[in-house]
């Protein structure tokens, strides 16, 4: 091997080495940055998980307290302490309405509308129920 070709080979080797180091450094730094991003994302996800778990725990605790407050014993005690005077309904105090309450209330409302005195030139209108004759 002559000297000039050796120099050329060494020079090339050094250039390639520098390039390789530069490339590897870039890849390394990229990897570090990527890992850092992964770590940050994982930490953020974990934080969200923890907050979600905390909310679920609060929810469970609230459910438990709410259920305890709604227990018949507590409600009866509250009925006495607040002097509400609520008692169980007796059959003799119950009036059962057989007709549909919606229809009855609608009829009552319509009656009030049409019973109002109409002033001015408006003619009074009467509605008649149309009954279809059998064929």
């Amino acid at each position: 091997m002559n000297k000039s070709s050796t120099h050329a080979f060494v020079n090339k080797l050094l250039v390639y080495t520098v390039l390789t180091i530069g490339f590897n450094g870039t890849v390394g730094l990229g990897t570090v940055w990527m890992r850092h991003q992964i770590a940050e994302t994982a930490a953020a996800t974990k934080q969200h998980e923890n907050r979600l778990a905390a909310v679920e725990r609060r929810l469970a605790e609230t459910t438990s307290r709410l259920a305890a407050e709604q227990s018949p014993d507590k409600l009866e005690a509250k009925n006495v302490s607040v002097n509400l005077g609520l008692v169980r309904p007796e059959e003799s105090r119950i009036v059962r309405i057989e007709e549909s309450p919606e229809e009855r209330l609608a009829a009552k409302r319509n009656l009030e509308i049409f019973a109002t005195d109409v002033e001015g030139d408006f003619a009074s209108v009467q509605f008649k129920r149309h009954v279809q004759q059998p064929l």
């Binding site: 020079n11 459910t63 009036v95």
Partner: protein
């Protein structure tokens, strides 16, 4: 590049150095990864790897209205490492004595705040921070490097469990100067006192305390289901713990980016019962009132839906608070409605009457002489159990039921014969388990006819010489209310996911047909006579057709039927023509003035009060005109 640098001597030297470096690195890698691998991997695993369990929350038990009967409440267990503070202060004092004094003062102020939050005297709290030693086997003692038979006590339980809201207060402890801006307060002044450690867990809680205690069951201290729905539906309720494998840093905090495997916890399903907490409260209040008035040994009330067999309420006296189950004896925790045997007494007369009607041997108007003391049956004279009353005319089958005649029932049994009587008793569910889902059910006592003595054909039709559980008696009557079908006792209506999505719905189950629908309807009308002209007149409610049967059985004490100790009962349903609910009231050994406790005196009034409560709550409409006028009349929607 100069020629000198690239001389072959320097080139060889550089190459050799690089190669040696690589060889050195390679040798070290071989040492670390091959030779010392096992030791190092184990060290790294111990130091960094962590497997954390993610606890699943046990599912709730709900009633038919969605009210919570059992739930899991998150709690934070507090414990103290008494050495942590001392070691920390010693460590700081080595470098900065003033800082150590300041830190000690800060930590004391934190403990004062903690004592206030926990409502605990400061002196008591300070005891937990006093370093102590724990004795260990000297052979096994190497944890602190000394084999002196003692190690530092690193864990002292401070509180079994505080709620999340209390823990948030502890976490928010801030003992800095109040005038200091929030963002400038050092972390040292905030947060948990040094040495305080926490662990989270769920505690089973029963918000309604003693309501439906025997049905729900409880979770014991070992977190094992004990009895009731808790044990029966444990598979659905318990859920599946999750876990995650990860790495931790020097302060034992998880490094989430190194999570390798993760299985999320799957919370338990919710179990929805057919029990209605309002109905349950109604019958438990009634039991409490009966207990106060009559001081019975035991009492049971059962309410079920007549069409589907679903239980709406089941209560026993004595009962207990599920949150304090350790304070009562084991026998109080027993669901006597399914475990304890009683003689059904006159309520069993429905079996002989239904059987005779079903086989076409009698009609409701067929009459029997019920004023005789004995009768010849299969060539032998059999003595009857005496009736309370003497009858001057032969009683019809309907009257035998309404007047509860033992002699009449025995003659109905004789018409059927031993084998058919036995067959019908089995058909009605006596002598076999009812299929009630919660365990420990007794199947009762009903001998086969070949084991009957000569007298038993006069005793069994009247409800003696056999034993049954309250639930068997209840469902035997329910078979008449459901047009002759024997229903399976059902308690669980639905299984729901934690998200509320329905997983499975349960429906009514018919075990078998006991009698034809027309026979059941005839029986219902005869049982109505009990509350019209018979022994259960006090159960009648205006406008409602109440059908039922009273029962009074003498208790068997020391092998003899006692005349002072009775089991009184009333089993009924309404409205008789279109049954909606079946109610059973059984009172064991009530103390009644005069020494007797017939079902009609104790159980019937209780039945009536329960029935009236059910009518208004379940909106059961009257089937007949109510003769008493309502107290408040509304007309046209206006007062």
């Amino acid at each position: 590049m100069s020629k000198g640098f690239a001389s072959s001597y320097r080139l060889v030297l550089l190459a050799t150095t690089v190669l040696l470096c690589f060889a050195g690195v390679g040798a070290r890698l071989v040492q670390l990864h091959v030779l010392d691998r096992a030791r190092l991997v184990s060290y790294v695993d111990r130091a960094r790897r962590t497997v954390e369990t993610d606890r699943a929350r046990r599912g709730d038990i709900l009633d038919a209205r969605g009210d919570v009967l059992a739930t899991s409440r998150p709690l934070v267990q507090l414990a103290v490492d008494p050495w942590a503070l001392e070691e920390y202060i010693e460590h700081v004092a080595k470098h900065n004595a003033d800082r150590a004094v300041a830190l000690e003062s800060i930590e004391r102020r934190k403990r004062i705040a903690l004592a206030q939050i926990l409502a605990m005297p400061l002196g008591d709290l300070e005891e937990f921070w006093k370093p102590d030693w724990r004795k260990v086997d000297p052979e096994l003692d190497s944890r602190d490097g000394l084999r002196d038979g003692r190690i530092k006590s690193r864990w002292v339980k401070l509180d079994e469990g505080v709620t999340e809201s209390v823990f948030n207060k502890i976490r928010g402890i801030n003992v800095s100067d109040v005038d200091e801006p929030e963002d400038q307060i050092s972390a040292v002044y905030k947060g948990l006192p040094r040495g305080l450690t926490i662990s989270r867990h769920y505690e089973r809680e029963y918000p309604l305390n003693r309501l439906a205690a025997h049905v729900i069951g409880f979770m014991n201290r070992e977190d094992e289901a004990s009895g009731g729905v808790e044990a029966f539906a444990d598979f659905y309720l318990r859920g599946q713990d999750g876990w995650r494998e990860s790495e931790k840093d020097g302060r034992r905090r998880e490094l989430a980016q190194f999570r390798t495997r993760q299985v999320p916890a799957s919370d338990g399903y919710q179990v929805v019962l057919s029990i209605d907490s309002v109905v349950q409260h109604l019958i438990e209040s009634e039991l409490a009132m009966m207990a106060e008035t009559y001081k019975p040994e035991k009492a049971t009330i059962i309410v079920s839906d007549a069409k589907s067999g679903f239980l709406l309420g089941m209560a026993n006296y004595p009962t207990y608070d599920l949150n304090h189950y350790t304070e009562v004896k084991l026998e109080v925790q027993r669901n006597t409605a399914v475990t304890d045997l009683i003689d059904p007494g006159s309520t069993f007369k429905i079996v002989a009457a239904s059987g005779a009607l079903e086989d076409g041997l009698v009609t409701p108007s067929t009459r029997f002489n019920c004023s005789i003391a004995s009768i010849e049956y299969k060539g032998r004279v059999r003595r009857f159990m005496p009736d309370e009353h003497t009858y001057h005319h032969p009683l019809s089958v309907a009257e035998i039921i309404s007047q509860s005649s033992n002699i009449g029932a025995a003659q109905l049994g004789m018409r059927l014969g031993e084998q058919r009587m036995y067959d019908y008793a089995r058909q009605f569910g006596f002598g076999e388990k009812s299929g009630f889902p919660l365990g420990y059910e007794s199947k009762g006592l009903l001998n086969t006819p070949d084991k009957w003595s000569a007298l038993e054909i006069t005793r069994i039709p009247a409800g003696y010489s056999i034993s049954a559980t309250p639930i068997q008696i209840h469902y035997a009557m329910a078979s008449i209310a459901s047009d002759g079908a024997l229903l399976k006792p059902q308690l669980i209506r639905e299984i729901r996911a934690a998200s509320g999505e329905s997983i499975y719905n349960f429906g009514g189950v018919t075990r078998r047909r006991v009698m034809k629908p027309q026979v059941a309807r005839a029986m219902a009308q005869m049982l109505r006579g009990v509350t019209q002209i018979g022994t259960g007149r006090d159960a009648a409610i205006d406008g409602y057709q109440i059908a039922g049967k009273t029962g009074t059985a003498q208790k068997l004490i020391d092998g003899k039927y006692s005349k002072r100790h009775h089991v009184g009962s009333f089993v009924g349903f309404f409205p008789a023509s279109a049954p909606e609910v079946v109610v059973t009231v059984i009172v064991d050994d009530a103390k009644v003035e005069g020494g007797t406790n017939y079902g009609s005196k104790v159980a019937v009034p209780a039945f009536r009060r329960v029935a009236k409560g059910l009518i208004s709550y379940l909106d059961i409409k009257p089937v007949e005109e109510i003769t008493t006028q309502p107290l408040l009349a509304l007309e046209g929607g206006r007062r």
